[in-house]
């Protein structure tokens, strides 16, 4: 696999950003997009645009078929049993809200417990917090160990006979820890507990096999997966999506509408109320094809090498502290520098064309636990190279110089 060739497929790297070559290390936030995806958006709007599903004219039929093709591609890519287990949402956040809200309507009772982890992104905490407020459920936090991992024992410890849901990230967007979803699901299912996975970082970096993981729900963020913004995917087992109530109401999700009552459509329409992100769904097919053309095993291998290299050079750098030391690390390197606030780091690195993120990365619980207000984060995509990490290290050194650090 030749990364230079792959990188050439991303038009943004042809640009100079403030006179610098772009060293983009913010892919955990959002990935850049390959040309095929952008061309598809453009072509669809220019030559084939129509709304889907509702009209019988030529363009509408063609658009509907394209839209449903993506559903089938996603189904195959994540190895779901049924095409109707794929629901398009506006993002992973909406997907997680959908799950919490509908489980809250039907399954969760007051005093029931939901286990999340200290690693969770706010998107996998706030929706459950809403239920804590409205339904008086309890939220328990499975703790991280000193490496920033959540060993399965720490989850098992929190399980009681009130536990109804375990909602966990596949790959932490701060420590890079990869959680053993398959084992957690086995444990959970042996006790009749539903497993919801926040797959935002799993999507671009890991092999997605729903039959292997066996989780009940899996949320994907398309814009982190080389796809367009404004799109997410919720995978849900058919038995759940069939029995749970709808989330949003509107056109397209109904069967019959009368003044005194309404019946809802079948899957997948039931969860796709209103006009969907048609062009984005259709273009996302190209993101999947792009990933398939590289092969997820190659992606994983490439990123593994990079992360090992990055870990090595950063660890050697005086006063720089890596956050977490997980057994299995995905493409994220978060760090602090003693005496320099992460926002100052990010601003100074940016001056050298190195784009990283600083802040709590929507993981305030984790940062509180670590006793730091914020951290700096370099995160990888398929287009990154060792050279990018060298530049990161150089920029860190420049930054230290400004602050008179050795």
């Amino acid at each position: 696999m030749n990364i230079d060739t792959i990188k050439k497929e991303f038009p943004i790297f042809d640009e100079k950003i403030q006179n610098n070559d772009l060293v983009y290390l913010d892919s955990a936030n959002s990935s850049q997009k390959p040309k095929v995806v952008l061309d598809r958006i453009n072509e669809f709007y220019r030559k084939q645009f129509s709304n889907v599903g509702r009209s019988v004219h030529y363009l509408a039929v063609a658009a509907t078929n394209l839209y449903e093709n993506t559903r089938s591609s996603v189904q195959k890519y994540i190895n779901a049993k049924d095409k109707n287990e794929i629901v398009f949402t506006k993002g992973a956040t909406e997907a997680l809200n959908l799950v919490a809200n509908t489980l809250g309507q039907m399954i969760l009772e007051p005093n029931d417990e939901v286990i999340i982890t200290e690693l969770e992104h706010h998107s996998n905490y706030v929706p459950w917090h809403f239920l804590r407020k409205s339904k008086n459920i309890k939220i328990k936090f499975a703790e991280i160990n000193e490496d920033g991992d959540v060993p399965i024992e720490n989850i098992e410890k929190e399980i009681t006979n009130k536990t109804k849901v375990i909602a966990i990230t596949h790959l932490s967007n701060v420590t890079g820890s990869i959680l053993p979803i398959k084992e957690i699901t086995q444990l959970a299912h042996s006790k009749g507990i539903i497993v919801v996975v926040d797959g935002c970082q799993g999507g671009p970096h890991l092999k997605l096999d729903m039959q292997d993981l066996d989780c009940d729900f899996y949320a994907i963020s398309c814009h982190k997966m080389y796809g367009p913004t404004g799109l997410g995917v919720l995978y849900g087992k058919k038995k759940w999506l069939e029995q749970l109530p709808p989330y949003q109401g509107g056109g397209g999700m109904i069967r019959e509408v009368k003044k005194n009552g309404i019946s809802y459509g079948d899957l997948p329409n039931k969860y796709e109320a209103g006009t969907m992100a048609t062009a984005q769904v259709i273009a996302f097919d190209q993101s999947i094809k792009f990933l398939e053309s590289i092969g997820i095993d190659n992606v994983i291998e490439h990123e593994k090498k990079l992360i090992e290299y990055g870990q090595e050079i950063i660890q050697k750098n005086n006063s720089v502290k890596l956050i977490g030391n997980p057994k299995n690390r995905g493409g994220v390197l978060s760090f602090t520098i003693d005496g320099i606030h992460p926002h100052d780091i990010a601003t100074i690195l940016d001056e050298d064309g190195v784009a990283i993120r600083a802040g709590h990365h929507c993981c305030q619980i984790l940062h509180d636990k670590l006793g730091i207000p914020a951290s700096a984060r370099a995160s990888l995509g398929i287009y990154n190279t060792k050279n990018d990490l060298d530049k990161l290290n150089d920029a860190i050194n420049n930054c230290k110089k400004i602050f008179d650090l050795k």
Binding site: V61, T64, N65, R255, G265
Partner: protein, 156 residues
């Protein structure tokens, strides 16, 4: 077959003057079907004799010319056939309207095949395939004694 021919050749004949309309007396099986996209709906009534032969069959419903014609042709064709023959004909028709170029059933004679093939033009209009197949899915449901209403959104 172009669209004009599709509509003219047979659909109009059946669509405007459908056969077997109404509620078969003493029917012993029935099922309802609904196409939420178009609003087409159909109710199929079936009377099987004690040898599982279709003694009588009829339908009530409202919808576009294609769905009404299809129901009308279907009820004509299955009358007098045995249950397993009917199942075979339904499968053959559903296969033809989706992918197969021709009908293969041994339970249909050439005349009957010609009649059915006039619906084959619908293939070119994917949004309308559901109109053509609604009554057929509903007939299976009636034979199988399924109580749930057939909904075209459920099958592809």
């Amino acid at each position: 077959m172009n669209l004009k021919e599709l509509y003219q050749e047979i659909i109009l004949e059946h669509g405007k003057n459908p056969r077997n309309i109404g509620k078969t007396e003493n029917f012993n099986k029935d099922a309802k079907g609904h196409n939420p996209l178009c609003g087409d709906s159909v109710h199929v009534y079936l009377k099987l004799d004690n040898k599982n032969k279709v003694e009588d069959v009829s339908f009530e419903g409202s919808g576009c010319a294609i769905s009404m014609a299809s129901a009308s042709i279907m009820t004509d064709l299955v009358k007098g056939k045995e249950e397993n023959e009917v199942r075979e004909i339904i499968n053959d028709f559903l296969g033809m309207i989706k992918i197969n170029p021709n009908l293969k059933s041994k339970n249909l004679n050439d005349d009957e095949k010609t009649k059915l093939m006039c619906l084959s033009g619908v293939k070119q209009y994917p949004m309308r395939v559901k109109c053509a197949t609604l009554s057929w899915h509903t007939l299976i449901s009636a034979i199988d004694n399924k109580n749930e209403e057939i909904n075209t959104e459920k099958f592809d």
